[in-house]
């Protein structure tokens, strides 16, 4: 017998089992290598891009209202960014509420569709239909029903974000390893246990991919909502700010608003990516360090 340990009934004494693997932190060999590999390339690309941009402005003598140069945008950013923060906060709230609404409803719809095939056959076509409706065309309807303001913007954000959540969750729930499902079935596990102990955890990578897409979509939805239903008086979001600056040809300010909208997206994306990493880092390939 060439097993690693003697049996419990063995008389040969102490276990000779090998030691558990020690976790070894794998880091780049030194900071310089990390900077050279991961920081330098995007920084160089950005510098070249900005230089070309400025060059185009100078060579063609373009006025700032048509295309501001990076220096104009930077000056506008220093001058206007702080005053635009309340608008960015409004957009972020709408995007977060819309995202959460999409998360709840999309997840629930996917659970129902995964549990009952007839529900999937009945609901999925309408979910796809929802995705094909131009959001700009529907937003005015929401204004009619719910009035201009946050409620409408949240609903528009949710509407655009619900499909990636539902579709990815459903895909994940339906992709559970067949043998594992049989293992649960043979053990007599009821469908509810099968769903929450096996299928939902196994679907987490797909669910989280859906959430990552939805985090960006919800910001787009919120801004589209604001284009149509945004309000002024200090309560308008970045969509409203963008519309205002565009109509007044304050193009450098418009660029600043766009940058802030992008920052809002990045913040939401970062939150979801952090949660994803925390949930998957121990066991899923996608979240493991490359060296492992």
């Amino acid at each position: 017998m060439t097993t690693l340990t003697p049996t419990p009934t063995s008389t040969t004494g102490r276990s000779t089992a090998p030691e558990a693997p020690k976790t070894v932190a794998v880091r780049p060999r030194n900071r310089a290598v990390f900077v050279r590999r991961f920081v330098l390339p995007p920084v160089v690309a950005a510098v070249i891009g900005l230089a070309l941009w400025q060059l185009v402005i100078v060579v063609f003598a373009l006025p700032p209202y048509l295309l501001p140069g990076p220096i104009d945008v930077w000056e506008a950013f220093l001058d206007r960014a702080v005053s635009m923060l309340p608008a960015a906060w409004v957009t972020m709230q709408e995007a977060i509420f819309g995202f959460l609404l999409a998360l709840g409803s999309g997840f629930l719809a996917a659970l129902i569709m995964a549990r009952w095939a007839i529900a999937e056959r009945g609901l999925y076509p309408y979910l796809v239909l929802l995705q094909t409706i131009p959001i700009v065309a529907v937003a005015p309807l929401f204004v009619v029903w719910f009035g201009a303001g946050m409620t409408t913007n949240v609903l528009v954000a949710a509407m655009i974000a619900v499909f990636p959540v539902a579709a990815n969750t459903l895909q994940g729930l339906k992709s559970t390893d067949r043998n594992l499902v049989q293992l649960y079935r043979m053990a007599g596990a009821p469908p509810r246990v099968q769903l929450f102990s096996l299928r939902v955890p196994a679907a987490l990578p797909s669910i989280l991919t859906g959430l990552r897409i939805a985090s960006g979509s919800s910001v787009i939805g919120a801004i589209v909502g604001e284009f149509v239903a945004g309000i002024g008086g200090g309560e308008g979001g970045l969509g409203y700010v963008i519309t205002l600056n565009a109509t007044q040809l304050r193009t450098p300010d418009l660029f600043v608003a766009v940058l802030l909208a992008s920052a809002v997206s990045l913040v939401l994306f970062g939150i979801v990516a952090t949660i994803e990493s925390q949930l998957l880092k121990r066991w899923h390939e996608s979240a493991l360090p490359a060296e492992e």
Partner: protein
């Protein structure tokens, strides 16, 4: 159709059932035909006694997996009678089939937990099983931190934690390298000596079928059927008595000829 070589099935089953109890499972002219008319397995008779290991060997498409899936209740029987006298089943797949997000202990306890076995009992059974397969030091490890052989040991430990009377094993060692595979065969026999289960063991390997089986069921494809059931001349025993390797090698040669004859 079914050609049972001497000694006959009944005395064999009795030999592995000291109490003379009825077989754990009996196939009586069982067959499987799918709704599209494809017959996966022709009618066959087979029994598995208590504490008996029955190996099923044959080429791809001969219906080996269909037979144990019917035994496990994962596939319906379309003809004949299938009598199973135990509900204490365990199924070991070709892949370890572990939950990637649960550690070794949690995976080992899983089936017992799903079956509603109380926490203290399953914890004790899991501890014993983990010790038996030599993974004490890896209880907190996740499946991704284990080698292929270790993962398969977790799968075996999970199976024995639910104290099965009948194990169904679908090519569990097929994906392992030769060295690990040989170790796992020894491991399985050691578990069998410690836990009195009967087993149906599917394999593509003639030597594995002969090493593990008290009886070896030889199957053929197109159509899937049992051609011969051979009693091992030197079966594994509870006291790990030395085995007649020459006789086992001769049996392997016989099976090899049978399979070659079917193919030609």
């Amino acid at each position: 159709m079914t050609d049972t070589l001497a000694p006959t099935e009944a005395p064999m089953a009795a030999r592995h059932s000291p109490t003379g109890a009825a077989p754990l499972i009996e196939f009586r002219q069982v067959e499987k035909t799918y709704s599209n008319g494809f017959q996966a397995v022709e009618p066959f008779d087979l029994t598995v006694g208590r504490g008996e290991i029955v190996s099923l060997v044959g080429p791809s498409g001969c219906g080996k997996t269909t037979v144990i899936r019917m035994a496990a209740g994962l596939s319906t029987v379309t003809g004949g009678d299938l009598i199973r006298r135990t509900e204490q089943l365990a199924y070991v797949f070709q892949d370890p089939t572990l939950l990637a997000w649960r550690n070794v202990r949690s995976n080992v306890e899983l089936v017992a937990k799903l079956k509603g076995i109380d926490k203290a009992t399953r914890a004790a059974a899991a501890s014993a099983a983990i010790s038996t397969v030599g993974l004490d030091a890896f209880q907190k490890s996740l499946p991704r931190q284990l080698s292929g052989g270790m993962k398969m040991r977790v799968s075996l430990a999970r199976a024995i934690t639910s104290a099965p009377e009948l194990m169904m094993m679908d090519e569990p060692f097929a994906a392992l390298d030769e060295f690990t595979r040989e170790n796992m065969q020894k491991e399985l026999l050691r578990l069998w000596r410690l836990n009195d289960f009967g087993a149906m063991f599917i394999t593509h390997s003639i030597s594995e079928a002969v090493t593990l089986g008290h009886r070896i069921v030889v199957m053929a494809a197109k159509p899937g059927r049992i051609t011969t059931i051979i009693d091992s001349p030197s079966p594994p025993t509870k006291d790990d008595a030395p085995r007649d390797l020459d006789a086992l090698a001769a049996t392997a040669r016989t099976i090899s000829k049978l399979l070659a004859g079917e193919e030609s």
